[in-house]
Amino acid sequence: MTINSSIENSNIANINIKNNKISTKKIVSFIFEKIVPYVFMIVFAIRLFSYQSLIDTYIGLNQSPISAVTTFFTLVAIWLQYTAILISILRSFFRFKVLINLARYITLPIYLFNLILIQSIMILFVGNKQISLLFVCYLAEIVLGIALSIYYLIKDCKVKTSIKEIAIAIGVLLLMMIASLPAYFIQFVFGYGRNTIIPKDISFYHRVLIYIGIIIPIILYFTLRNQSEEVIRFSLIYISLATMIGFLVNYDYTIFSRPWSWPFHLCNTAMFIIPLCLIFKFKRLFYFTYFINVFGALIAMLMPNYEDTTNILSSKIFHFWFNHWIAFFMPLLIVALKQFPRPKIKEFYWSMIWFLGYFVLVLFLNVYFTAIGHKTDFFFLNTNYVVDQLGTWAEQLFNIEASITVGGKILVFHPIYQALFFATYVALGLAIWFVYAEFFRIADRHYELHLKLKKIKQVEIARRSVSSKIRKEEFMKELETKEAKLQLIHFSKKYATSKVYAVEDANLEVHKGEIFGFLGPNGAGKSTIIKSIVGIQPITEGNIEVCEYDITKDAVKAKYNIGYVPDHYALYEKLTGREYINYIADIYEVSKEDRDKRLAKYIKIFELESSIDSKIKTYSHGMKQKITIMSALVHNPKVWILDEPLTGLDPNSIYQVKECMKQHASEGNIVFFSSHLIDIVEKLCGRIAIIKKGHIQCVKSVDEIEASGISLEQFYLNTIGNNEEK
């Protein structure tokens, strides 16, 4: 009893311990995955604004207060810190292989590296090693970072990885570092270089920068479009956050007291709006960026507003171009990768409303701040920067001023210029929308094409014609020895536009020497089956085999064996009869002797001697039909398929065609035709099939039917009349 209870107790104790373990695990994971990232974010944000930076004043390593080598490594450490922080924070929201590896293996050394170099980092940032808010925050970051890395190391220890995957993770890290490049890095490390390179006015370097802004998103699109949803979302969020941080690095806490220096320019707002919209999925705000910002960024890229003396390696350039590249391509990339749906007119209206709001806000900010003495020009509304580029007529428009005095401050507006600006922008936005829509349509179509081709390759359909000569000779020999056979195996066909099967589960086998008739009411599926056999329509399900060649997999070989007479003659009216038949014979590679023989024979049978050398345009209906029949027989096909061949012919022609069919079948070939003329079918065919509403009702031989005492006509009407006839 006690042993049992003790076992029970120990069991209970075990369960309790397990529960405790589980609950500790839960608490730990809650802390590390829910609380720590947010604390991390707050610490990082404080750190960003907490100091007045000296680091962007150094041009070249020799200006640095510490030795060049240490400076270089310190800068790299700072750079890596940004990347690592983002990885650690984002890790708690995403989970895929590369990120997992990054968060546990790669970030730890980065934090340790920073810990070692923290004193140099402080010197570069603020010039001294004193304990300041910056120092504390930075240290806190490193500690939190290390803690998170260790947590993930433990948490994901069950996830196996290989050296290759770690190498991939390092490669991805290097790519991620591009987005988080601090603007001052290049100028600090390399100095200004040659002073003569000025990327402005569509000079060569300017163009290179523009091309980069176009090529990078294209590369991103092609690499990302095949990835999973999670990876795409992560990549886009990472890029937008990293560049936003890079953008914010230029500002410090003093900015809060100078609202006229806040980043209210259009493209500046994009840096914040894009990550916000991506993370929280704000649709309307996103479309504002999509319609307005992209276009504005493009114009800014074409007419940059930095001075002519700005060197290409300076931080200003990096700051400007990163800002505008992101504002330009991120919204487009986001829509292209289907993170947000393609906008419709409703979204356009909403974005125009947002734009109006932004416009009014910026207008008043400009005017107010100018009135209190700080010349501001957000969105270029308040100065003549834009009109300068346009010409004197624009200057005159700009000079029309209106001023209001409010509470002692004179607010100066330029009403006509500003109103025109707004109107033009809206109009251009609308025009650009059409351009976007077109580009996206094209991109989508290409993607569909790409997918379809991949599918085709996977199914391995060889649609090339027999090319090499050796294979050709073998094939020709094969042609002659194969027996005539036509098989439908579970063939079904559904037209793309309808939900109903045109033909469902048709099974049929026709052997050599047979004349096979195909009966059925209009719209039953006769033409569909015939067109699928000859290759005009594709097959939805099942197989069709002609002389044991599959019509989809060995299309060319199968078609060599088919002669097709369509229901409406399809001839080249401008050719003569002889020219047309020779043309067909050339395609089927009929030898000269054969075609001379056959042509002479058929011309005689069909009595076309006097008109064979006249243009087909001058033929009567019957003669055209005869030419079609001749062209289908010139290569002596093993399977001769006719679709309602006898409609509209005079009795003499009907007789001639029937004789042809009998002759052809007697040579061991198949004659397969559909018709409405039951009498003729009765006299001509060996076996028949009846099809109704896409289903083959029955396949019987004519003799069988007549042996049972009823005529074919009666049998047919019975079958069509009710479904249950055998």
Partner: protein, 578 residues
């Protein structure tokens, strides 16, 4: 007896009335063929058409008035030469009408198919003849609303504004015009006899038809090129203005003296020039009008007695050339791939009306560019002007060529149901599909290079640069051609062509044309940018760099389009419902 005579008279009048009614029906029946009179039924449509036509006429009057007013203001001609302008207009207009009337009357009177239908109707054959003439006359009246009448009105307006004649002249002028417009019709009817015999002769020997056409074509090309060559270089309009205006005035005076008959006709319209320096209707005017009416009457009688019997003779004839019973032609075997080329060649040769459409573009474009550059050479341009010359030349070379590719966007659909048969043949469809483009490709090569040579020689490019430009435009043209073919494959219109033989609003054609315009504009802009750098730069070789870049862009475009075409055929061609 009197009663009998009275009865006969009554009968006669009844027959006459009946005859007139029949005539009216005949006229309306044939008129409906020529002009779309459906708008008469619907009141709204009726008003809309009338107002539209009125607006059109007023527009033409306004533009013509403006041009004449400006011309007289800058001293191109003074008021005494005014009648000569009218003489010119009248001459040109009547001349064109005469040519078109003769040609159409030949077809309509003698070779028309509905003659055979008309002859079965219970009408007097005379009436058929008269009805045809009347139909033509009404059609002439309608055509003159577009050209002659508005111009006459604007000339008169100018005279009225200058105070040279009164407002009533406007109303008077219509009366002589009615009779003047009869002249081309009646003359045409007479001349058509000659033309008819020529046509019969040509029909018997078709090779001469082709030869004649080629000779006429060559002569007209040489003539136009010669005329263009007469345009001098570096005309300084402002400095040489007195000479030029003097020459023009002399020319106008000569016109008036040489075309005396025409000036008489003009004087019927506007009256004679009196001592009081106004144009006034006087006795002479009415006399001349009478003479005109008499001439018309004589012509009508001539026509009635000469053309009518010939008309009767021709009406009943059958013009199909009898089928020649030829001997057995041999069967020719071709290579599987060559046979497509052979077939296309034969069909293109035999559907000459479509090919001629093409031919015209390929011949007219070089001539247009020649004229354009002759005009440009006559101007003394600065750097911006030189750049604009490059840009506009490239634009106007590309635009007609690319716009003519709209036909390619209907090639596959034009085959109708025959097009489906391609899928049943044991040959990969890509090959026959691309062969259809072969002839366009072949014909476009000489045109493009000749045009580029013309352009290049007038802006002094060397041979290498001309070749580069030629290839650039060639690849652009080919790329767009393949794009149009692509449009047709993805959106086939075979059914429409199979049933109706032609399609009015083919969406593929429209898309192809739109892209042609956009491509030409963009290409011209790019060439402007590239060549402007080149000429602003230092060395001569930089034009070559600009052209090389243009060529790379064209080749990239061509490559992309070809790739897309191949991929689309592979993915979609066999799957599209046929």
């Amino acid at each position: 007896m009197k009663a009998f005579v009275k009865k006969e008279k009554a009968q006669n009048t009844q027959i006459q009335k009946h005859g007139l009614k029949q005539l009216k029906t005949l006229v309306f029946m044939q008129l409906r063929d020529k002009i779309d009179l459906s708008f008469i039924k619907d009141k709204k449509q009726f008003f809309r058409t009338i107002i539209l036509n009125l607006v059109k006429m007023i527009g033409i009057v306004a533009i013509a008035y403006l041009i004449l007013f400006l011309s007289s203001k800058i001293g191109l001609f003074s008021n005494s030469e005014f009648p000569s302008i009218m003489v010119l207009i009248l001459t040109i207009s009547l001349g064109l009408s005469l040519i078109s009337c003769t040609y159409e009357l030949t077809n309509n009177l003698y070779f028309s198919e509905d003659n055979r239908v008309l002859i079965t109707l219970p009408v007097d054959a005379n009436q058929i003849f008269i009805s045809k003439i009347i139909v033509f006359y009404i059609y002439e009246l309608k055509k003159s609303l577009n050209f002659l009448i508005p111009l006459t009105i604007s000339c008169l307006l100018l005279l009225i504004m200058k105070g040279f004649c009164s407002v009533w002249m406007l109303f008077w002028s219509f009366i002589p015009l009615i009779f003047i417009l009869m002249l081309p019709v009646l003359f045409g009817a007479l001349l058509s006899i000659i033309l008819m015999y020529i046509k019969l002769f040509l029909k018997r020997v078709p090779t001469i038809q082709v030869l004649l056409f080629l000779v006429l074509l060559a002569l007209s090309i040489i003539g136009i090129v010669y005329l263009i060559g007469l345009i001098p270089n570096n005309i300084d309009l402002i400095a040489q203005w007195p000479t030029i205006s003097r020459n023009i005035r002399e020319f106008l005076l000569q016109v008036e003296s040489k075309l005396a008959i025409m000036s008489q006709m003009v004087s019927i319209i506007i009256g004679s020039f009196t001592q009081r320096l106004v144009y006034v209707l006087n006795g002479m005017t009415f006399v001349k009008l009478l003479v005109l009416i008499v001439i018309c009457g004589i012509l009508f009688i001539l026509v009635y007695f000469i053309s009518r019997p010939i008309f009767f003779g021709m009406m009943a004839k059958n013009f199909e050339i009898n089928k020649r019973i030829t001997n057995d032609k041999p069967n020719k075997k071709h290579n599987k791939y060559f046979t497509f080329i052979n077939k296309e060649f034969k069909i293109n040769l035999r559907t000459i009306h479509i090919s001629v459409n093409y031919l015209m573009v390929y011949i007219i474009v070089p001539i247009l560019i020649l004229f354009l550059n002759a005009m440009y050479k006559a101007m003394d341009t600065r750097t911006l002007g030189d750049l604009l010359i490059y840009t506009f030349n490239i634009l106007l070379i590309c635009l007609p060529l690319l716009a003519s590719n709209a036909l390619v966007a209907t090639y596959y659909s034009r085959e109708g149901r025959t097009g489906y048969m391609k899928k049943t043949k044991p040959i990969y469809a890509f090959y026959p599909l691309i062969i259809k483009l072969l002839f366009n490709f072949i014909f476009s090569i000489p045109t493009i290079f000749i045009t580029c040579a013309i352009f290049g020689s007038s802006v002094s490019f060397n041979v290498g640069e001309i070749t580069l430009l030629g290839f650039a435009i060639l690849f652009l043209h080919l790329g767009h051609m393949i794009y149009s073919a692509n449009l047709d494959i993805m959106n086939p219109q075979n059914e429409q062509y199979a049933t109706t033989g032609d399609m009015i609003d083919n969406p593929n054609e429209n898309k192809s044309t739109v892209l042609a315009f956009i491509l030409s504009a963009v290409y011209a802009l790019i060439s402007y940018k590239l060549l402007s750098e080149a000429s602003l730069g230092s060395t001569d070789g930089s034009i070559i760099f600009g052209l090389v870049k243009l060529m790379i862009i064209s080749i990239a475009f061509f490559g992309a389009m070809l790739l897309l075409f191949v991929k689309n055929i592979k993915a979609y061609y066999y799957d599209i419902q046929g």
